[in-house]
Amino acid sequence: MKNLYIITIAIIASVAVSACKKNESDPAPIIPTQTLVLRMTPKIGADTLDFASTHITANNERYTLSSFRYYMSNISLIKNDGTEEALTGKVFLINPNTSDYSLGNVPAGTYNTIKFSVGLNNELNHGDPTKYPVSNPLAIQSPGIHWSWNSGYIFMMMEGTCDTTDTNVDVLTYGQYSHDLFYHIGTDALLKDVQVSNAPITILPGVNKVVQIHSNINQLFVGVDLKTENRSHTMGSMPLATKIANNIPSMFTIE
């Protein structure tokens, strides 16, 4: 019975494949291309992100994290002469369970800047999330990262707890602070363009390239008083959400 099932699938698959064969012949590439992978590593200061320990902001305020995810889209690489290689169509949901995100084949060369957006453009942001296959980062996620009450994606979702008492008592007892910390940052107005150019990216033909990009979470708290500014669903607390979003571009560095 199992074999029959497999055979059936095989037949369907072969029909599907033959139906999708391309007719046009691809022109030979002039510049060699090479696969490029982004290794996205969230950090807190010098430490790697973990969901178990207590972290400390630059202002010495204590917090823990339970979730940190964001959408990365609109990615391009820029050469010294200013020419831009747009990697259209790539959308990633950067999350702690996955470190490597493949950009596919990229023309070999030296790039001085990687550009991307944290968030989604207007069209993607207001698309229908039920229409994507489950494997697509824009499909409904578990836990969710889409707002159904104002229909748009949460561009960056950070959740945890923070110490608003300065006593450190509850975290020692329960492993977390009793006060919620969450920033759900979204809406078209808070789409953030990021440029990282602290180190050149050289892609050599025949050598698979991995570029490691750090995101320093503490950077989000610059100018933020964690004692009072610890919750935002964007809507209803636009000033705080804007402050957090404005900190996003300075989070990133190439290792």
């Binding site: 019975m1 229908d128 499909a139 409904i140 996620q141 889409h146 229909s151 809507m235």
Partner: protein, 335 residues
């Protein structure tokens, strides 16, 4: 092994359907029930806009109806769409604010879903674009179904009945796409307009309304009453967002929650007035208990608010006029 067998059976069923081969009777019925049908639309209402990826079939409406009444959509299988949108209450619930899982209450009054097919956007603030995507709203809402669309799909896949029904209706296994479509397809079928007022307007039945109701109608559509400026057309709404002067300080910012514009604070979607007699209490927060309270509110001109519509003004109606207006509203109740 059992699931492989099932897989093949489902696959064969599919193939049979696709090849249109006249199989046994059941196959024929499934095929029949997959024919695109038209929603039944009463005189006086236009045919609603229907998305091309969700044209109605009997199988789709049936599946959507089953899901609408099934608590499988809630975190602890305790609440269904129909817990707050009750068929015998014109798909509203007669509560100030609805009750969801764990007895939690939200902050807004549940609207009737009769004729929801005509709503150009969803919710009191219009924050959600259509019926299909609206289905995600109560699932995400911690005060309503408080669940997870992907976990619902997992449960539906394991259910004894649903996989076959999804296959019949949408030619797929249960998915977020298909279950949101099915529910929307069912909701769109809730079209109704057979009140005494419709009898009067559509059939010219002069005796359908009492004298008091007729005086109420005239007042409603006059510059004296002003109601028709916002409550206009066959559904008694222009679907605009207005502040009708309920509060000096709104606890719920309304349309401003979506647009972030200060000038939208306290603006809510003008609700339909069909069946309004049966869907008390009133307003976005269920704060007015009776139609008399509503008419008294409008008669007073409401309270001052920078965003209050300039046509909400003190009316100085006599008590007879107020009664007429209420009586007219009650003539909008479907049979």
């Amino acid at each position: 092994m059992q699931s492989y067998t099932k897989g093949i059976l489902l696959f064969l069923l599919c193939m049979t359907l696709l090849s249109c081969k006249k199989g046994d009777e059941e196959m024929a019925t499934i095929a029949d029930n997959n024919a695109i049908i038209s929603y039944t639309v009463p005189k006086g209402l236009l045919y609603p806009e229907v998305p091309v990826d969700n044209l109605p079939t009997k199988n789709r409406i049936e599946l959507g109806k089953m899901l609408f009444f099934d608590p499988i959509l809630s975190r602890d299988s305790s609440v269904s769409c129909s817990s707050c949108h009750l068929p015998d209450k014109f798909f509203a619930d007669n509560l100030i604010v609805s009750v969801g899982v764990d007895g939690r209450t939200g902050t807004r009054n549940a609207p009737s879903l009769i004729n929801v097919a005509y709503q150009p956007n969803m919710f009191w603030d219009g924050g959600n674009p259509n019926l299909e995507q609206q289905v995600l709203g109560p699932i995400d809402n911690h005060d309503e179904l408080d669940f997870d669309a992907n976990l619902i799909v997992e449960k539906l896949k394991k259910h004894t009945k649903y996989p076959l029904l999804f296959l019949k209706a949408y030619n797929t296994e249960p998915s977020v796409f298909a279950f949101t479509r099915a529910i929307a397809c069912y909701e769109r079928s809730l079209i109704q307009a057979n009140s005494r007022y419709d009898d009067y307007i559509q059939n010219g039945n002069k005796s359908a309304l009492t004298d008091s109701e007729l005086r109420g109608e005239t007042l409603f559509f006059s510059e004296e009453g002003e109601c028709f400026h916002c409550h206009q057309g066959a559904l008694f709404t222009d679907f605009s967002f207005r502040n009708n002067g309920l509060y000096e300080q709104y606890a719920d910012s309304g349309r401003a929650r979506i647009t972030q514009n200060l000038s939208d604070i306290g603006k809510f979607k003008v609700p339909t007035l069909r069946n309004v007699e049966m869907t008390a209490p009133y307003m976005h927060d269920g704060s007015l208990n009776t139609l008399e309270d509503v008419v008294n509110h409008y008669n007073s001109g409401g309270v001052a608010h920078p965003n209050k519509s300039p046509i909400i003004l003190r009316l100085n109606l006599s008590s007879e006029q107020k009664t007429d207006l209420v009586n007219f509203l009650k003539s909008l109740t479907d049979k």
